[in-house]
Amino acid sequence: MADSDTLFPNEGPVSVAERLEAEALVVDVEGYEGPLDLLLTLSRTQKVDLRQISVYELARQYLSFVEKAKELRIELAADYLVMAAWLAFLKSRLLLPPDTSEEGPSGEELAAHLAFQLERLQAMRDMAARLMGRDRLGRDFFARGQSEDMQRIKTVTYTANLLDLMQGYARIRTKDDFRPFVMDRDSVYTMEEALERMRGLLGFTGSWTDMLSYLPDGWHSDPVKRRSATAATFAASLQLVKEGKMEIRQSESFAPIQLRNRPEEQE
């Protein structure tokens, strides 16, 4: 109690030293890692084993700390205020004689648990210190400086079977023998084909029709085929115009080319 009074002088004349000390602690609140840490620090003023700690006294100290912080207009984090509320509740429970009819844990149980938490936190701190104080790799003892770690010798073996070989050969031979003829024809629409197609359609085109509508089915989407078919159809159209079987017109550059048959020829 005396200790806490020294820390948080609430009344009476205060020495400059005391005030500085008090402020130092309060300002240091940022240095606390939460209310439990603060409680642990406060508990040290009791100078007793944490198992014998007076939780009542601790609660009182904590609450006066919070009061003091308020006076000094220090904004306390919500955590600290929640803890303050809880400790105020605990304090009142500890003051009152145990009421057996009341629900929930007794003040003693709550106090015991808080003491347990403080002791556990302190134990973890001690262990952390012991751990960090151990002989450590790279500081006290050392690993091999020049590790000759495993050389990974990766041997890659390549395999191929007879089928691969024959297929490979077949692929080349097939390409040589046939592909140039077959493949190239695939997307080539010849003028002969276009002419033949258009002669067949000639009778049905009395009005101006876009030349592109003469393109055979399946030659519209693929750009390569479309180009070939368009060229062939255009060439065929010119041929038919030349023969006097058709008329051709284009309103301006890049405008659609239109075709129709020549009625005179229809007689």
Binding site: E33, G34, P35, L36, D37, D79, M83, W86, F89, G104, P105, S106, E109, L110, A112, H113, L114, F116, Q117, E119, R120, L121, A123, M124, R125, D126, M127, A128, R130, L131, M132, R134, D135, R136, L137, G138, R139, D140, F141, F142, A143, R144, G145, S147, E148, D149, M150
Partner: protein
């Protein structure tokens, strides 16, 4: 550590192989030389399984390791066990000679050190449990830093609602602190005897801190990790 690598079974396997082998395994003195060379050459601890796979068929590295460890007793270099692996490390009393090699390790914050200790002593532990013990929330950066240093890693998820992830310490941690296993953590027995590693639920609903994460399996799992 809790990878479930059972090197005694590996050793048994090696013995089995030795019996069955058509070829005689090299003499034990030769096996010891081999283990010595492999441990010496690698900066990282080498597992028994790895030794078995590297050494000729029928070798028994566990036995060879025992001879080797004895041979190096009191020398400037020691043979140490790190989890289920083995390594050679200089004797700690000669650290003063090695000043030049000292690489300044990144300064760990108090929060990080405490978090590490909590993970080591309470593993596998959830973030909520760490927060309950410390009474403050654990910043993402703290966990990240420890993960990055490879001192902790994710353990199995807890079988509790939300199946939270857990953290456990790694062989790198054991190696760094010169621990054979997490069982050898200083003061572990005392802490357990004092009941400070128990997960004691707060009485009543008004829990202190953030520790709503109640854990029944925790105590069950511990013996597996620390049990002796």
């Amino acid at each position: 550590m809790n990878d479930g690598v059972d090197y005694s079974s590996v050793a048994a396997e090696a013995k089995e192989q030795a019996r069955d082998s058509l070829f005689d395994a090299p003499p034990m003195a030769e096996q010891e030389r081999m283990v010595e060379a492999v441990l010496f050459a690698s900066a990282e601890p080498v597992t028994v399984r790895d030794l078995v796979s590297r050494m000729p068929h029928g070798c028994n590295p566990v036995e060879a390791l025992e001879y080797l460890r004895k041979r190096y007793e009191g020398r400037g270099v020691r043979v140490v066990q790190v989890g289920d692996a083995w390594a050679m490390r200089t004797a700690p009393d000669l650290g003063f000679l090695m000043q030049k090699e000292t690489v300044e390790t990144r300064k760990l914050s108090r929060a990080a050190i405490e978090t590490l200790a909590i993970i080591a002593y309470h593993q596998p532990v959830t973030r909520a449990e760490i927060e309950e013990i410390r009474g403050v929330s654990v910043s993402r950066g703290t966990i990240d830093q420890l993960l990055e240093m490879e001192w902790i890693r994710l353990g199995r998820r807890k079988m509790t609602p939300g199946r939270p992830v857990t953290f456990v310490v790694t062989p790198v941690f054991l190696d760094h602190f010169g621990l054979e296993s997490a069982r050898d953590l200083p003061g572990l027995k005392e802490l357990r005897a004092a009941g400070l590693l128990e997960n004691r639920p707060p009485p009543g609903a008004m829990a202190l801190g953030q520790g709503e994460e109640r854990e029944d399996h925790h105590d069950e799992e511990q013996p597996e990790l620390f049990g002796d």
